[in-house]
Amino acid sequence: MKFDMTLALADKPGQLLRALEPIAKNGGNIISIIHERDRPVEGYVPVSLVVDFPSRQSFRNTINDLRSLGIAIIKSEEVVEKVRLTFILIGGVDLRKVVESKIRDMGVIGLEVSTSRLGEVSVKLDIEVPAENADDLMDELKRLAKEQNALLISPIYP
């Protein structure tokens, strides 16, 4: 499981090695590290890391160990791989209202609607979801399309 961490290290020799020891001790595998020495803030240097831990517990243990070493943790959060998908729904006049009522739960980051002279509504949805939830999203949109007797156009390889 990947975690994105930003630490504030004192700008003196040996600090980076000191911070890396608890990570290694708890089984963390460093994916990337950015040591921004040219951006010190009040004598502290930000270090951004992406670390792959074997479990959330090993991540939590690392955080505790870093804190007990007096190392400040500015940010620590799990990296969730997300995908951005675009869909189009085509249906009747009620479609817009229905979609707008459901989008909060779907991770919609963009919505565009166009209505034809005959009253057919076309709705474009841009949705961002964790990659592991993409299939569930597809199923939900298919259900919505079926309920509303609408045509769902999915991306070619969701």
Binding site: T86, F87, I88, I90, E112, S114, T115, S116, E120, S122, K124, D126, L151, I153, S154, P155, I156, Y157
Partner: protein
């Protein structure tokens, strides 16, 4: 080798012209090659010494030719007494496969090679027909049945022998691709684009076979059975056509750098449906072109683009005939070598 041509419609006539133009190339492989018979729905021509291909290529109807035997049927000639290979090019019928299914069954059971662009028999009885061919040690080749001139079956058979196909997808119907392309480029409605396609002869008067995705679904079934070891039927394909697509939807997609295309897909399931295809994706081709995107475990991705219908299909039929000739002659080298 003695060829019997069954079906003297558009493709049958184009094939005869191709045989006329390429006869020297064919006779380099088989000096004794001749077309001994040509059959239409009302009768046939037959000459065991070989019909005059030049003369045949000038006919509009077989009945115009001297010696035409009206009221006779192809089944009389499907015998090793009369022919070694048939090209079965009768109109496709996905309800019961006839008359093509009877012709192909009879030919294969008698050890006669079959080359066919006819989808109906392949959709309805693929496993049965391929087993018959294997049992009787003869060839059943159908390159022209899916995506016309695009040599997808030959490519996989000859050039991807070590690969496992993971997913296959494609634009398999030129009529719907034409309609959707016109809607995309000219910003016109589905109804106007369809009318235009009908006026140009690209869509039939009853376009449902194409616009409702049935034609594409037939091709997906054949591809799945032939290339991915499935035992699929037409009813296994989840199918949605393009009738409900609005000009507004096409414009929304275009603004976001997508085109809407009718895509057939074979992975965990079989599907034909309109999809959003990124404009820079190799499958995003326009007009009446077809495209097939093959994903394998070794080669990764290969995309083939070409004409899926029309006289270009003759390329596939002729190549299949040449394959049969070469196998019979025990030749594996290029036909272009001296």
């Amino acid at each position: 080798m003695r060829l019997l041509l069954i079906g003297f419609g558009f493709l049958g006539k184009e094939l005869v012209k191709a045989l006329r133009d390429k006869i020297n190339l064919i006779r380099r492989l088989d000096g004794d090659f001749r077309a001994v018979g040509a059959v239409d729905s009302k009768g046939y021509l037959y000459n065991k010494e070989g019909l005059n291909i030049e003369g045949l290529s000038n006919l509009n109807r077989l009945s115009e030719h001297e010696g035409y035997r009206a009221g006779r049927a192809a089944v009389e000639l499907i015998s090793k007494d009369f022919c070694d290979v048939i090209v079965e090019a009768t109109p496709t019928n996905i309800v019961n496969g006839e008359p093509g299914l009877t012709h192909i069954r009879l030919a294969l059971s008698r050890g006669i090679h079959v080359v066919t662009p006819n989808k109906g028999p392949l959709v309805l009885a693929f496993r049965e027909l391929t087993s018959l061919a294997e049992k009787n040690d003869c060839e059943l080749l159908y390159e022209g049945a899916v995506a016309g001139a695009i040599p997808v079956f030959s490519l996989v058979r000859e050039c991807l022998q070590g690969d496992r196909i993971v997913r296959l997808s494609g634009i398999l119907n030129g009529t719907t691709n034409y309609i959707l392309s016109r809607m995309f480029f000219e910003e016109i409605s589905f109804d106007i684009a369809l009318k235009e396609a009908q006026e140009k002869g690209i869509a039939e008067r009853d376009p449902s076979y194409d616009v409702d995705g049935i034609d594409a679904a037939c091709k997906i079934v054949i591809l799945a059975n032939a290339l991915m070891g499935r035992d699929a039927r037409l009813e296994d394909v989840e199918r949605i056509g393009i009738r409900g697509i609005t000009q507004e939807a096409i414009s929304l997609a275009k603004k976001a750098n997508y085109a809407i295309k009718l895509i057939g897909t074979i992975d965990r399931k079989l599907e034909v449906a309109p999809k959003l295809v990124p404009i820079n994706h190799p499958l995003c081709v326009h007009g009446t072109l077809n495209a097939i995107h093959i994903e394998t475990d070794l080669a990764r991705e290969i995309t083939l683009v070409g004409y899926g219908a029309g006289k270009e299909t003759v390329s596939a039929i002729l190549n299949d005939l040449i394959t049969v000739l070469k196998k019979r002659a025990g030749k594996t080298n290029s036909i272009f070598e001296a």
